[in-house]
C-alpha cells in the first residue's frame, strides 16, 4: 500500500479507505480488540518514559514559542535604563507597574485604541452587511450578467490594498478624507472573502426550503432574515471573528491614509510610541501588550469561530 504523491487527494483517500477496510476487517473481528491490536501492551516503564519525553518536547517547544512574549512583558515592566545597565538579564529590573497608565496618558494610547475600535467596528459591520446581501444575490437570485458580477467580485482578489495602495491614497487625498474615519474604512467596507464564505453557507440551504417558505408567503427579505441568516449563523459568526482580526491588525492602509499622529490607529502608533526617548522605551512595549488584548479576548472566548474561520479556506477552498 505504498502511496504515490502525484495521485490526487481524492483518489488517495478512497484508496486508503478501501485498504483500511480490507486490512482491518479480517484481522480485527471485534471493535474492542482494536486498541489491543494496534498498541501492543507496553511495559509500564516504557510507557512512562515515552510520556515523559513527550512532555519534555512539548515544554521545550512551548518555551521557544513563549520566549518572545516573555521578553515583551519583561521589557514592558522593567525600567528601560536600569534594565540595560543591569546587563539585560532574563528577569525584570526595578519593575514599573505604572507603565500602562503612562502609556495611556503620555503616549495617547487611549486615543489610538479608541480609533482602532471605531475603525474595526465600522469595517466589520459594513462587511457583514454587504457580504450577506451580495451572497444572497449570488446564492438565491437569478439575474442577467450574474456571471460577470461574480467575476468582478473574484477579480478583486487580485487587487489587495497593497497593490492599489498608492492610487487609493491619492483617491482618498482628492476626496479630502485623509485623517478621517471614512478614509480609514472606505476601501474595506466590502470583501470578496466574506461574500464567498457566506455564499457558501447559503448554498448549503436546501432549495426546497426556499420554495416552501415562498408558498408560506415569505418574500426574499423575510426569507433572508428569518431563514437564511439563522441557518448560516456558524459561518457568519466565523466570518465576523476573522473580519475583526483582519481589521484590527491592519497596518499598511492606516499608515498611509493618515499623516497626523492623532489619526493613527493603535497598530500604526506602535511604530512611534516610546521610540523618541530611550528612557521611555517600555511605553512602546506596554502599548504592544495593550494592542493585543482585544485579540487575546477574542482567542479565549471565540476559539471555535477563529479555528473555523481560519481553516475555512483550507478545507472548503
Amino acid at each position: 500500500m505504498a502511496t504515490d504523491p502525484t495521485v490526487s487527494a481524492a483518489n488517495e483517500q478512497n484508496r486508503l479507505n478501501q485498504n483500511a477496510e480490507q486490512i482491518v476487517d479480517p484481522l480485527v473481528p471485534a471493535p474492542y480488540d482494536n486498541d489491543k491490536a494496534v498498541q501492543p501492551p507496553r511495559s509500564g516503564l516504557r510507557n512512562a518514559v515515552a510520556t515523559t519525553t513527550t512532555y519534555l518536547v512539548l515544554t521545550a517547544l512551548s518555551v521557544i514559542v513563549l520566549f518572545p512574549i516573555y521578553m515583551l512583558l519583561l521589557r514592558a515592566l522593567s525600567s528601560p535604563l536600569k534594565y540595560i545597565s543591569a546587563g539585560q538579564p532574563l528577569y525584570p529590573v526595578s519593575i514599573e507597574w505604572d507603565v500602562f497608565n503612562r502609556a495611556f496618558g503620555q503616549a495617547s494610547l487611549g486615543r489610538s485604541m479608541g480609533l482602532s475600535f471605531v475603525v474595526t467596528f465600522v469595517i466589520v459591520i459594513a462587511q457583514v452587511l454587504t457580504s450577506v446581501l451580495a451572497a444572497y444575490a449570488f446564492a438565491f437570485l437569478e439575474f442577467p450578467l450574474k456571471k460577470l458580477a461574480f467575476v468582478l467580485v473574484i477579480g478583486t482578489l487580485l487587487l489587495p490594498i497593497e497593490v492599489t495602495l498608492i492610487a487609493n491614497v491619492e483617491i482618498i487625498r482628492k476626496l479630502h478624507l485623509l485623517n478621517s474615519v471614512p478614509g480609514l474604512t472606505f476601501p474595506f467596507l466590502v470583501t470578496a472573502i466574506g461574500i464567498f464564505l457566506i455564499r457558501q453557507g447559503f448554498l448549503g440551504i436546501p432549495r426546497d426550503l426556499r420554495d416552501a417558505s415562498e408558498l408560506d408567503g415569505y418574500g426574499h427579505l423575510r426569507f433572508l432574515f428569518k431563514v437564511a441568516m439563522p441557518m448560516s449563523k456558524a459561518i457568519i459568526g466565523s466570518f465576523i471573528v476573522i473580519a475583526f482580526l483582519g481589521a484590527w491588525n491592519q497596518y499598511v492602509w492606516p499608515r498611509f491614509a493618515t499623516d497626523r499622529g492623532a489619526w493613527q490607529t493603535v497598530q500604526v502608533a506602535l511604530r512611534t510610541i516610546g521610540s523618541e526617548n530611550p528612557g521611555e522605551l517600555n511605553l512602546g512595549f506596554a502599548a504592544a501588550i495593550v494592542a493585543s488584548l482585544p485579540l487575546l479576548a477574542l482567542l479565549i472566548f471565540f476559539q471555535r469561530q477563529i479555528v473555523r474561520g481560519l481553516t475555512a479556506g483550507a478545507v472548503k477552498g
Binding site: L129, T130, S292, L296, V307
Partner: protein, 318 residues
C-alpha cells in the same frame, strides 16, 4: 425561457381582473415572469454597495496605476503630468532598484514559507495526541494568532534590535549586517504566523481517520513512513493553502521592515512593497505605480496557482 408576452403592469391588472379566466399554468408562468424581473432588481440592489466600493477602491485605482505609470509627474503637484507611454514602466521594471526589491521579497519568501510550514507541522503533530493537559499546549501554540504584524515586530525589537535586543550580539541575527538583517526580520513573520499554521495543520490532522493509521501500523509501517505516506498526502490541501497564504504575506511584507530596520542597512531589507510604499518619499509616483503593477502581476500569478489548486480538489472538500 418561459417569458410571458404580458409586461409586469399588465400582468398585475390581469391578475386582479381576470383571475378566473386565466388557466392555471399560464398564471404560474406570468407570476414567474413578474418574480424574475423583481428578483433581478433585488439582486442588483443587493449587489450595489459591493460593486460601488469595488469599483471605486479596487478597479478605478488599477486604472489610476496605469495612468501614473504612463505619465511622469513633476515634484510639484501643481505642474501637469506629461504622457510618456510605456517608457517609464519599462525603465522602472528593469531597474536595479526594482530587481533588488524583487530579490528581497523572494528571499523573504524563502526564509518564511518552508520554515513556517515545517514548524507549524512539527507543533501540530506533537500535540495531535490524547494526553493529559494537551489542551494547554495547543493553546500556547496557537497564541501568536493574537499578534499582528506590528505587534510581532515590536516583540522582535526586544530580541534583535541592535542596541537593546536580547540577541544583539548573535551575528546571524544582526540587523546591522546586510546579509543577516532580512533573515532576522523574517523570523518575526515566522513566529507571528506560527499560530495560524499550527491551527490549520492541527485541524487537518484531526480529519485523518484513526483507522488508516492503525491499518498502516498493522501493515508494519513505522512512525516516519506512516507520516510521509499517509498523513502528509491527506493534509496536503491544508499545506498548499498555508503555503499560498504564507507566500502572499511574504509578498506583502511591510510593517516588520519599517518597524525593525526602516529598510536598512543600506537598503538591504527594502522589499517590493517597502519600495512601493516608500515611507521616505524618494521615488516618483510614476515609478512606484510601475512597481505596483509588477506586484499586481505577481499577485495574479499566486492567485492563479491558488485557483487551479483549489478547483482541482473541488470533489475532495466536504
Amino acid at each position: 425561457m418561459n417569458t410571458s408576452p404580458l409586461n409586469p403592469t399588465e400582468h398585475a391588472q390581469g391578475e386582479s381582473a381576470q383571475v378566473t379566466t386565466v388557466s392555471a399554468p399560464a398564471k404560474a408562468q406570468t407570476r414567474r415572469f413578474g418574480n424574475k424581473v423583481r428578483d433581478a432588481g433585488l439582486a442588483y440592489l443587493f449587489l450595489l454597495p459591493a460593486l460601488i466600493i469595488f469599483g471605486v477602491f479596487a478597479y478605478y485605482p488599477l486604472y489610476r496605476l496605469f495612468w501614473y505609470a504612463t505619465h511622469t509627474q513633476s515634484r510639484f503637484r501643481n505642474k501637469p503630468a506629461s504622457y510618456v507611454g510605456l517608457e517609464q514602466l519599462k525603465a522602472s521594471l528593469t531597474s536595479n532598484d526594482f530587481i533588488s526589491g524583487l530579490t528581497h521579497s523572494g528571499l523573504y519568501m524563502l526564509y518564511t514559507v518552508p520554515l513556517g510550514l515545517l514548524l507549524g507541522v512539527m507543533l501540530a503533530v506533537s500535540t495531535h495526541r490524547r494526553l493529559k493537559g494537551i489542551k494547554i499546549f495547543q493553546t500556547i501554540f496557537s497564541s501568536t494568532v493574537a499578534s499582528s504584524v506590528a505587534v510581532a515586530s515590536v516583540v522582535f525589537i526586544t530580541l534583535v534590535n541592535p542596541e537593546i535586543g536580547y540577541f544583539k550580539n548573535v551575528p546571524w541575527l544582526s540587523l546591522r549586517n546586510p546579509t543577516s538583517a532580512l533573515f532576522a526580520v523574517s523570523l518575526s513573520s515566522v513566529w507571528q504566523n506560527l499560530g495560524l499554521t499550527f491551527i490549520v495543520v492541527l485541524a487537518a490532522l484531526q480529519t485523518v481517520p484513526d483507522e488508516l493509521i492503525e491499518a498502516a501500523t498493522l501493515d508494519g509501517y513505522g512512525a516516519i513512513r506512516r507520516f510521509w505516506r499517509i498523513t502528509v498526502p491527506l493534509i496536503s490541501p491544508a499545506l498548499l493553502f498555508l503555503g499560498i497564504v504564507l507566500v502572499v504575506s511574504a509578498l506583502q511584507a511591510f510593517a516588520q521592515i519599517e518597524i525593525l530596520t526602516g529598510g536598512g542597512p543600506s537598503g538591504a531589507t527594502e522589499t517590493l512593497l517597502f519600495k512601493i510604499a516608500d515611507p521616505r518619499g524618494i521615488r516618483p509616483l510614476g515609478v512606484r505605480a510601475s512597481y505596483s503593477l509588477g506586484l499586481f502581476v505577481l499577485t495574479a500569478i499566486v492567485a492563479g496557482a491558488q485557483y487551479s489548486i483549489m478547483s482541482k480538489r473541488v470533489h475532495y472538500g466536504d
